[in-house]
């Protein structure tokens, strides 16, 4: 039991390291968002087409969902500790942006569709922000969305109804016509995120 987990974690650390290395090394001088972030980020490699199921049970695509600036987070509702902290932080950032009339949509994508039905993600996201959109889908749809965003998750033994899921906890700022522009980590505060996001949205 322990060895495969360690192997999987190593794979993630290696892949994650490559991804972050790529992310940091890409030159973005001259683009319209250059002043917005101290790190060097570029659109294109993170994000892409997805088909998922929204809170009302409707099938939606990235074109439907990301038609306005959006802050996208992948997690699962059975997670009572870290995911709510991150979603509450994201909701706080959105609330700070609301005060500045910068409209950004918080999005929660479940990577545990076996338990997270449309009803469950609706109920969950309503706790954090009235505009937070919950998305789920089939296992295949969710896997494709996760791969598009270069996120990682590993579902535990599903013969146990209380299985746990390991997953990455980055939040992605997506802009219409630009796609991915910025990644936020768990260390980033709501205030820092609001400042960064406002910069991007105002430079659109």
């Amino acid at each position: 039991m322990k060895l495969p987990v360690i192997a999987a974690l190593l794979a993630v650390v290696v892949l994650g390291g490559l991804g972050v290395g790529w992310y940091l090394n890409t030159d973005r001088s001259g683009d319209q968002f250059a002043q917005c972030s101290s790190s060097t980020a570029v659109g294109g490699a993170i994000g892409g087409p997805f088909t998922l199921v929204d809170e009302t049970g409707e099938t939606v695509t990235d074109a439907d969902v990301l038609s306005e600036p959006s802050l996208v987070y992948f997690g699962y509702t059975f997670c009572p500790d870290v995911c709510p902290l991150d979603n509450a932080r994201n909701a706080d950032a959105i609330a700070l942006l609301d005060e500045r009339d910068v409209k950004v949509q918080p999005v929660f994508i479940s990577i545990d569709p076996g338990r997270d039905t449309a009803e469950v993600v609706r109920d969950y996201t309503d706790l954090f922000h009235p505009r937070m959109l919950g998305l789920t889908g089939s296992q295949e749809q969710v896997r494709a969305a996760s791969q598009a965003y270069k996120t990682f998750y590993q579902i535990g033994d599903t013969s146990d109804p209380y299985y746990l899921v390991n997953h990455t906890t980055f939040s992605y700022l997506m802009l219409p016509d630009h796609g991915f522009v910025e990644l936020f980590r768990r260390e980033d505060t709501a205030e820092e995120m609001a400042d960064d996001i406002a910069c991007y949205v105002n430079a659109m």
Binding site: V12, F78, P80, L85, V120
Partner: protein, 169 residues
């Protein structure tokens, strides 16, 4: 009318209780502010938090939390470069002279099997904490609002890496 009177006196009885310092003592241990955070209506799991101060000169260990749920475990959330996992702990060390805090983003009591009985603000959850040396103590976890526990600016205490102190698995 009668119902109103009962409700009013019930409220009066509850209020001083809420205002009371919410801590418990057993042997050399002081358990402070046991609480849980509200969950959505459809939640299957919830997290419980508290701090334990060991005022004695002998190390102790929290080895179990018991409560009326299908499953209750001691957990810690680990964060390795943004990849987060929950890990079950066999116990949480409570070293002599130290305070160990279970807090959001780190160690927690994991309650599983909430189906149909979500943690609503104000609900009280009876839990028995079992310590290796001090023995068992019954505490009440008060369910608090999520917004009271939003991560604050400059507070990075939510990081698993920093809150794993005392954990053993």
């Amino acid at each position: 009318m009668k119902f109103m009177t009962i409700a009013a006196s019930a409220a009066l009885m509850v209020l001083p209780h809420l205002a009371m310092a919410h801590d418990y003592k057993i042997a050399d241990l002081v358990i402070d502010h046991p609480m849980a955070i509200e969950t959505p209506a459809t939640a299957r799991a919830g997290g419980g938090y508290l701090s334990v101060t060991n005022t004695g000169d002998t190390d102790d260990k929290l080895v179990e939390a018991r409560a009326d749920f299908l499953r209750v475990e001691l957990h810690t959330s680990k964060d390795v470069d943004g990849l987060v996992s929950m890990v079950r702990l066999d116990g949480i060390d409570i070293p002599a002279g130290e305070t160990v805090t279970l807090k959001p983003g780190g160690m927690h009591v994991m309650f599983m099997g909430l189906e149909g009985h979500p943690f609503q603000v104000g609900r009280e959850i009876p839990v028995t904490l079992v310590f290796e040396k001090a023995g068992a103590v019954d505490v009440i976890l008060q369910v608090e609002a999520r917004e009271e526990h939003a991560p604050k600016d400059g507070d990075h205490s939510g990081h698993g890496d920093h809150s794993n102190h005392g954990a053993s698995n």
